[in-house]
């Protein structure tokens, strides 16, 4: 701008106004300025604009892990919606670590972004320490939590109804007449695992006293521990299994097949997170879809509305999306 002002022998502010098509500038000057701007391929400096308006048009997204189909679809949803509103997405990974989550938040909170969308790391949920989130909200930075959330922090939230998802899946297994149903989950500190376990238990108890046996295996983490798995499946002669993620489900199916079980004839399988693995498994896996795209889009929508709303009303909502059962070949039609 400085350059083109000198070139045309006008003031910088005239240039600024001309570029914004201000009414107060003569058509003649405007045309000249705009021509030069095109010539020099002028683009306003985002940083300077941000400093002025105190708006960065950036959204900070912090997730535990990006090599994970669900989070990936959420990011895509966020990105898609944010872009239509002129926002960029800054992605940081906590890598399931509390410390990294804190560092990343502080890094971004110092003016780099207008708001946060995040899903808690397992480490954070285990520690149960949310001071970094509270600080951010107290600074007035809008925050939307998705999927792995906490009640300790006052902010907008969006989840799928994990309990309902597990309920629907378990009900499907019960309706098939299954009698020895296993749930393979993680320890309860993960909010989603807890809700899914509740849904599982509720479905069975709602089913009345029909002699259904319920077996629960709680894995220490989202990763696979083959030996625990094998021991559990060897000990119990199940006829159905619900897993809280795809990897567990695929692994269970593989080991069951190895033991000579037929799927879905002998054992019926359902997994959470309807990702690529479910679709391309053999047999393809009946799954609870978590609608990551939709969740990301909604989260971005909620956040941007908060960012752009003038009033400081402190009303927070928690949006609950309905999961969907996608029936494939690992259950009986």
């Amino acid at each position: 701008m400085k350059h083109i002002a000198k070139e045309l022998d006008v003031s910088i502010s005239t240039v600024s106004k001309a570029l914004k098509n201000s009414e107060e500038i003569s058509r003649d000057t405007k045309e000249k300025v705009q021509a030069f701007a095109k010539l020099y391929n002028y683009k306003p400096n985002n940083i300077a604009v941000s400093l002025k308006n105190k708006r960065t048009k950036n959204i900070g997204v912090i997730i535990p892990d990006i090599v994970h189909h669900f989070f990936t679809t959420v990011i895509r949803g966020i990105e898609k919606f944010a872009n239509t509103k002129g926002y960029n997405v800054i992605v940081c990974l906590s890598d399931e670590s509390f410390d990294k989550e804190v560092i990343n938040m502080e890094m971004l909170a110092n003016g780099s972004i207008d708001g946060f969308i995040m899903s808690l790391s397992s480490d954070t949920q285990l520690k149960n320490d949310y001071n970094h989130l509270k600080e951010v909200t107290e600074q007035g930075i809008p925050l939307v939590l998705f999927d792995r959330i906490t009640n300790e922090v006052q902010c907008d939230k969006i989840i799928i109804d994990d309990q309902l998802g597990a309920y629907v899946a378990t009900k499907k297994l019960l309706d098939e007449g299954r009698k020895k149903i296993a749930l393979i989950t993680t320890r309860d500190y993960l909010s989603v695992s807890k809700a899914r376990t509740e849904g599982f238990l509720k479905a069975i108890s709602d089913n009345g006293n029909s002699g259904v046996e319920k077996l629960i295996l709680k894995m220490p983490s989202m990763g696979m521990d083959e030996s625990l798995f094998v021991a559990f499946l060897d000990e119990h002669d199940i006829d159905a299994v619900l897993c809280v993620n795809e990897i567990f489900a695929i692994s269970a199916m593989r080991y069951l097949k190895l033991k000579g079980k037929k799927i879905p004839e002998d054992v019926s399988c359902i997994g959470f997170t309807d990702g690529l693995l479910s679709k391309y498994a053999n047999p393809s896996l009946t799954a609870i879809a978590q609608h990551g795209d939709e969740m990301g889009k909604m989260a971005a929508k909620m956040l941007i509305e908060k960012i752009e709303s003038e009033n400081e009303e402190e009303t927070y909502i928690t949006k609950i999306l309905e999961p969907t059962l996608i029936e494939r070949d690992s259950t009986v039609k």
Copy 2:
């Protein structure tokens, strides 16, 4: 800073210096200022600092698709390395579209980032139009291209040796004594598909005139077109197949099994991109690992070195990583 200067009745610059532990400030003042800074939880505003230093400490990453294991591992590699150097990662998705790629680049090029890491969209490679990249490099913004690259632009690049990968995989199939080997790929406008096809052909021709039949199916896109697939596999009675991605490989295995073929006894299968699908497929898929993590890390390293190097030497390098054949159960040991 303004606030705490007023509070302590000193000037803003005194505060600034005290916070940076400048020698010229008395210990007394420094302690007072630093105490207040901690109290108010002061953090310098990134935007203002960026404007001053002309350094944002942000890296812009533009990829065609985030719901894709390979890109996801690359991002993880970039993020990991960038964070250790104090950089944030801004992720934008081109969604395989030329227009989105251009829009995103322009958006970020106006001061939001210090450099780009990107992989070309298929649309861009098809159009063969790289003016947006050239403009950016001419502006002096460092650029690192990975995986899907072009020779039209002068910049640092990093790829795996796709030709070698295909060569090694094909050789493995030849060593098993396979005689009717198929390659399932996409059309040649994707730089990687082209290189892989070359490697495939080279391996077979290097093998001498041993009566090996080579069949090539070129799919119109990365997505699945079931009918083309089925027609091809019905027409040719192959005994080995190399696919340029996991989805093709999994789908091929599924259909071959449906036709009563045994894998790997009757047909041997290898796929590119060693992702989750390969690991958890049934049988597990022998794959060419592309080392996305390593590629991301190297790309970030190259970019940050360019960003932080004072001299404007115009030397660009192309780094070529070696792919690795991961043997699993879809080939004969």
